[in-house]
Every structure is written in C-alpha cells, then in structure tokens.
Symmetry: C2
Subunit: 332 residues, 2 copies
Amino acid sequence: MRKLINAPEDVVSDALRGMAAAHPSLRVDAATGVVVRADAPRRGKVALVSGGGSGHEPLHAGFVGPGMLDAACAGEVFTSPTPDRILAATMAVDGGAGVLHVVKNYTGDVLNFRLAAELAEDEGIEVAAVVVADDVAVEDSTYTAGRRGTGGTLFVEKIAGAAAEAGAPLAEVAAVAADVAGRCRSFGVALAPCTVPAAGTPTFELAADEIELGIGIHGEPGRERAKARPAAEIVDAALTAIDDDLPVAGQDVLVLVNGMGGTPLLEQYIAYAAAAGGLAARGATVVRSLVGPYVTSLEMAGLMITVCRTSGALTGLWDAPADTPALRAGAR
Amino acid sequence: MRKLINAPEDVVSDALRGMAAAHPSLRVDAATGVVVRADAPRRGKVALVSGGGSGHEPLHAGFVGPGMLDAACAGEVFTSPTPDRILAATMAVDGGAGVLHVVKNYTGDVLNFRLAAELAEDEGIEVAAVVVADDVAVEDSTYTAGRRGTGGTLFVEKIAGAAAEAGAPLAEVAAVAADVAGRCRSFGVALAPCTVPAAGTPTFELAADEIELGIGIHGEPGRERAKARPAAEIVDAALTAIDDDLPVAGQDVLVLVNGMGGTPLLEQYIAYAAAAGGLAARGATVVRSLVGPYVTSLEMAGLMITVCRTSGALTGLWDAPADTPALRAGAR
C-alpha cells in the first residue's frame, strides 16, 4: 500500500488538521470531523450541511464557504458520520432560518442524517433534507436502496447554496435543491481501483485490460466489467447511459467531467473534449462546465460525468459568487 | 497501460481540444499547443509567456488568464515546445510593452525559449526571460545543467503576473520574477511512477516498500531510493532539504504542498498538516498556502513541497486578483 499517510487510523484527523492549517476561512474540529464556515452561524440565513464518508475530497469540506455549504461532517474513510456529529454541525451553523441537509443516497448517510434531523428538531431547529441519487449506473447497490448519490451533489450544494446566500427561505432552498437533484444524472468508469487505508487491499481487482463501467465512488460494482477502450468510447458509454435515463436533446446543460482521484488532469481534458462533442451530437447545449477532481474515490483512476439539465434561473445561481477551498465562482 | 486516452500520439491535441471547449476565456490552438488569453494582446501591458512539455497540468495552460500568464505553449508529453511555437505565442500576446518568458530550467526549454526570444526580437518585440531552478534535490540531472525548475514556477507566474497586470514595465516585471525565483525552493518525493503514453512503460520502477526522495517532475532520478515511511517523515525530509539550502527561520513564507497527479487530496492535506508543523518548528511563519495538484507528473503518486520566502510586497502580489482555469485569487 503506497500511501502518503501516517497511520491508517489517523488518516481523517490528520487530513482535517491539514485543512485547518491551510484554510483560516474554516473552523475545523479534527476530532469530530465537523468543518464549519468561520463566520457561522449567519443570522437569518438558511444553512446548508452536508457530509459523508471521507475519501471523496474535496467533497464535502472543500465546498464549505460563502455561497455553498455552511458545514460539512467527515466520517471515517467511506463511512458515514455519526448522528451526534451531524447534529453538532447543524447546531453550529443554524442562524435561526433553518438548516438544509444535503445527503448522498447511501443507507448509512440517509439514516444518520435523519436521526440528526430529529435530534435537531428536538432542539428547536427546523431541518429539511434533500437526498441526491443521481447515479444512473445501478438501481440498488452495495450500500444503497435506490440509486447512489455522486457528482450531482456538487450541483445541489452550489446552486442551493447560492439560493440560501441570496436570502431564500428554507422551503425555497429545499425546493431548489430537490429540483437540481432531479435534474442531475451521473455515470462513472474505473480504470484502476483504490485502497482504503484501514483495509490495505484494493476495493476490487481489474485485469490489465479491463475497466468497470458504472462504478460507484467507493469502488462498489457497476454495470459491467468490460475491455479497455479509447477515452472517446468510454465517454460515449457514460453519456449514453445518462441520456437514456434523462434525455438531453434540446436542453441547456451544466457538465462536470470529474477525475476520480488518480487520473491526471491531462486525461480529464481528453475526456471533456469527447463529452463536449458527445453532448452536442445529442442535441444538448453545454452552458457551463467544470473539469477536475471534485468528487473522488481516493486514488481510483477513472472518471465520472455528471450532466445537469439547467434553466436560466439555475444557471444564474450556478454563476453566483462562491468562495470555498475547492470551488470559487462569480465575478471578481 | 491504464490511461483515459484515445491514441498516444493524440494525447496533447485531444487535451487541448478539451481545454478549448471548457474555457471560453482561452484561445486554444490544439494543433500548435499555443494557449492564449482570449483578450490578448493587451495594449501596453507586459505579457507573460511560459510553456514546456505537457504532462504537468494544470501547469502551464491552466494558469493563463488575467493576473497570471498571457500565453502558454504546450509541447508533447515531457518534451519542450519548439521555438516557432514559442515565437507564435510571444507574437500573439505582445501588446507593445514587451514579453517575459518564464522558463523552467530544462535544457530543451532553455534553448528553445532562447531561440524564440531571438526570433521575437528580430520582429521588434522586446523579450526578457527568467529561468526557474528551484528544485534543491540535485545539482544537475537527466535533463538539466543546474537545478531543475518545478513548483517555484507557479509562484513566479502568479507574482510576476500580478506585477504585469498592475502595469509594471518589463524590466520591473522581470526583476520581480527573478526575485521570486531566487526565493523559491522545492523538493519532491515519489511513491509510484508515471507512464508516458508514447512509451507505454513506467519512467522508473519502485519496489512496493520503496520511495524516491528528490524525484524530478519527469520521473528523473532524485537523491536517493529509500524505504517507505510515514507522511510526517517524508515531509520532514523535504523540509530539511529546503531549509538546508535556504533557511526559513524568521521568514514569512508562502507554501505549496503539491500532489503529483496520482495522490488523493486527502493525502495532500495530511502532508500539509506535517508541513505546517515542520515549518513552524523551524521558525518560519506561513502567511499563505496552497494545497492541491498544481504541478504534476501525469499519474505519479507523491508530493512536492515548494517554499517561497516572501515579503509584504510579494505577498500583496500573491493576493492580487487572478482568474485562470486552475487558480483564482483575490477579493470578490
């Protein structure tokens, strides 16, 4: 296991100490995994809280800041944060206008966020939740009932975060988040697996000439093990899966071409060239794009494509200022 | 070879087509590898041009935009761009105030930029150059006479780019660039090699329990092959090499903890926690930091640390607005 770590049991807390040192704009509790905007709570603003297992960085803590999340909860690698920590994050950022939980659809996350929401409501905090389930690859999977939540989460956090920053009330922020979640579809492909530090062995095995189409962000199985093929064909398979599920013809779309953690940016741009061409060929108009490692799976090699059917209003929220460690947007 | 590519010979042009599609703020010639600010030439502004072999993305094309580079020239993977292309970039961005070439110290780059500068001067364009040679690991190497240029290049491009954007004349921009280059020191460590697509085999081999201390950004040999060790010890070795060369005690420093392309962000933050502690223990004050994959070596696993002894004026230029695909800075 070639990893730049100290000890497997310290991976998450060590990384959080690094985040704390690197980002004065964040308040980081490395012991509990709770990362909060330094200026929280913001009086009268709806707060957004997300979280999940670690190993997907910069998701979620890298998206904490003005215009996106107010707090993120980091669990151990690929392990949901516990309800008490989600509750602590929720209480730390509540500014009296309620809190939106942005939850990726994994059984542990859904359960723990629900428990935390109940506990928060006992404390008098109004909580709404959106569950993101954008991955079209499989209907149920190792860790989910229903579809997995992946890259669409970034779009929900950015766009609903902008709505909250603009002063929208909780019901409206939650409605925007649900709307965006419903408009996003994702599909991932692995070229090489990742290794959870505490396990020490790869989450799956691929032969030298194999890829996994429809992989999940924890290395959980996808649709099919297939022969390696050119990037353009891999991208085409991803776009076909997305388009079959939610047609893109005639639509304005936001697109994320996302490296899974071990894929060079050079290759991500090669994939984006194919994605831009493939979407145009399917009749979609790409109005905004993002290329980079935003929702990762440790050092997994591969990519994920997320397409969000947008509207003028949603694109406006996408363009609104955001200032987080991993994503900055807006005019300057 | 597990790569998200179409054909080895198309890697650079395909990636540049992706950049062109993703970034309307850039004018990209995928055939020649010349990437230019869409609003170039800027009348009366000193222009910055950099470039080098591909495979180090986002360096350099990802740093083209207001506040940093006016143009970048991409060669084939790990291969210098030819003089005619550097000349084309230089002519495309000259706004009458002269052009600064930012050159990493590799023999091919130095030669080709020098030839391009002579050709540009024949065209009546005033050219100055700064050669970045910040890597303390080795004095001469496979591809260099003298030290290699690595992460310090980012600091030169950002800070000199800010000086140019603020209207400084060529001599002053060149002086700032030379000053910054002289203040930067870097040291890299590889945990796993990379594979150049056209070669198809790794640039070097490491046993499962080995790392390479002082690695170059093309996989060229470093100081020593050593046993794998905890991240804190790897970072300590890098900081010791840097501090031995240019002491940091009592200094304000800018720090880059840079993933080499195949190292997850989680691990980069673990390294940053160690770097922040190690610099403080050595008496330095970290005034700004950057954590992420900014100067990469394809999918190499490992990290590079760059330390820049700064001043109030240089920190001000570091903080100045920049708006490039890979680095955005400044108030918004």
